[in-house]
Every structure is written in C-alpha cells, then in structure tokens.
Homo-oligomer: 205 residues x 2
Amino acid sequence: MNTPAHTAPPTRGPSDHDVRSQIVAAATEYFARYGYEKTTVSDLAKEIGFSKAYIYKFFESKQAIGEVICTNRLDDMRRAVDAAIADATSASDRFRRMFRAFVDAGTQLFFGDRKLYDIAATAALEPWPSVRAYERYVEELVVRIVREGRESGEFERKTPLDETANAICLVMKPYISPLLLQYNLDGAQDATVHLSNLVLRSLAP
Amino acid sequence: MNTPAHTAPPTRGPSDHDVRSQIVAAATEYFARYGYEKTTVSDLAKEIGFSKAYIYKFFESKQAIGEVICTNRLDDMRRAVDAAIADATSASDRFRRMFRAFVDAGTQLFFGDRKLYDIAATAALEPWPSVRAYERYVEELVVRIVREGRESGEFERKTPLDETANAICLVMKPYISPLLLQYNLDGAQDATVHLSNLVLRSLAP
C-alpha cells in the first residue's frame, strides 16, 4: 500500500502511527455500519472530526484505508490457519485442518460482519494487493503440504507438483474466495469434508 | 411450471400453443435487451401488443415466462452435453468430455447473451424448478459415469458411490452454476483440465 509522503507531526501531538490507527479503527466501525461502497472519505472525516485534507495526509484514498482493514483481516485468517495446522500429525491431517480452518475463518470474518463483507468483495473482485498476497499465501501453503506428503511417502510423486497444487487450490477456491463462499455457505462443512477426502484420494501414491 | 386454467381460444384464432410460443419468443428478445429483473409483464404486453390480462391467461407470472426460457436454455445445454459424451471411449473420457461440455455450453449460453444471464442468475439463486431439475440431471450423469467406470474396472470401488459423486459435483459446481461461473470464466478451460485430472486421479483403483 502506498501512502503519500507527509511531514512529521508536531512532537506534542499524536504520532503518525496513532493517527493512522485511529483513522483505520473509525473507518472499520463506519464501514461495518454503512458499508464500504457507500462511504466517502468526507463521511469518514466528518465522523472522526478530522478534515478531509488531514485524512489524505495519511491515506491517499478510501481504498488505501480499506486495504489496511483488509490486510488486518487477512492476517487474522493466516494466524487462525497457521494455528490450526501447527500440530498436525501428517501431511493428510495438515491438509484437512487447513481446508477446514480456511472455511471456518472465512465464514466468521467475511460473514460475521455482513457489512464488512462489502470490503472483502470489492477487494477480491479487483483484486487488491492484500488479496493477491493472501492468494500467494494459500498457494504456497498448499505446495508446502503436498511437498511434505511427497517426502514422507504419503502422496504420489508422478504428477508435476505445480499441477497438483494448482488443482487443489481450484478445488478450495469456492470456499476461500468471499465472492464464491457467499454461494457455498450452506453445507460448507460437509462439502469440505467430502472434498478433502476426494483430494486425498487423488494424492494417494 | 403451473399455468392458470384457461378457456379454449376461438377456432379461427391462433392456437394456445402458438400464443404461448409467441409470448416466450417476444419475452426472450425483450429480456435479452432490457434484462429480466427490470422488465414487468406490462412492458412485455405493450411490446407484443397484447393486454396484460391476455398474457396472464397463458402465464401466471413473469417468472412463469422466465421458467420456459430457462427450461429451453437448459434443454439446449443437456443436448450439447449429451452429444459431447455420446461416443466417448471410456468412463474417464466421458468424464472429461462432460466437464468440458458443461463449461463450453455454460459460457456460451449464460454469457453469450449477457442480458439473459440475468434470468440464469435469478433462476439459480432462488432456485427455480427448472434449475433443480438441471442439477438432478448433472448429479445423475455423474453417478452414471462413476458407476460405468466402476463396472469397467477403471475406477476404485471402496468409497461410497454417493460420496464420490457428490464430491465430484462439488468440484464441478463453480463451472456449472452461472452464479459461480461468472467469477471463474478466466482460465476456465485450463482449470477444468487440471480438475478433471485431479478427479480422475482420485478415482483410480
């Protein structure tokens, strides 16, 4: 995320970091109440009691604020997934836990706050840099688990690693992308169990 | 689809069948131009030169007309898929052809006429009886192909047939449902090749 260059704040005032956090916190609350798409930087400025120009000193656009919120949420999701798979006993177990954790975290973070889903949808549709980074995280995690299973002899090694990992990401995508997950929330738990079984059968040596 | 009971038309006038076809043809064109959601039965009546009451003699609602259009489109898709798989040489070949045919037909029928996508989306979201029937067709086709492959020894037989078929339908769903396909059009061809490979690996004995 790019922020415009800005001069140092007066030493007695709040630090840049504090002001940025304050804007992000207020924006998160405001977006959650009124939706991201409908809110303007002027609305936010009025709500926080700052001038629009002052906000622009810290964020070059509404999207730049949205990007920070989105990055924070996606970081929460990564932490949830990483925690869920940390003490897995095998590559298969790690794969199952990962898939379930993505769906649990996604359901909670995208749809727990229905209005904030708005940001997730916009971010996923464009997609924003934070979303691209998250997609890379998912891909790398899948590659890591497949490689682990190949090394331990749990998974077959004939199919090119890239193809295997890509196909698995495609299977998981409807349950990871908020744009698709909204249509798959019903029965997502059972679906991911059946899909995990299918993927693991496809990985059998 | 339910249509209200109606009296026989005068023998010198057009037959009921002709009037129904005329309304459906005019509605298809009108929806394609202005979108399904925005069109009212009054708009259609004006366009065709019938009274609203006369249209209601044949269709109980706008949805009833939409259902006929939707059924016609889905019948076209079934025919395209059935033709594509008719001379497959094995269950694996039939599966690959089926998946590809669904994506080709769906891309063409849902997105060739972008405005008619509107009907497909509404029909899939509710879903309409024609869509439920189509989903059953997909499920039954998958069951048939899996059973064929199990009988010929191409596919494994340990996993319950229902679970296998359900998981395969879940893998294909993002490329069959128009609501999901809209987000998966880019790279759908490559995606379905990789996914077919994955599914066939999962089916290996």
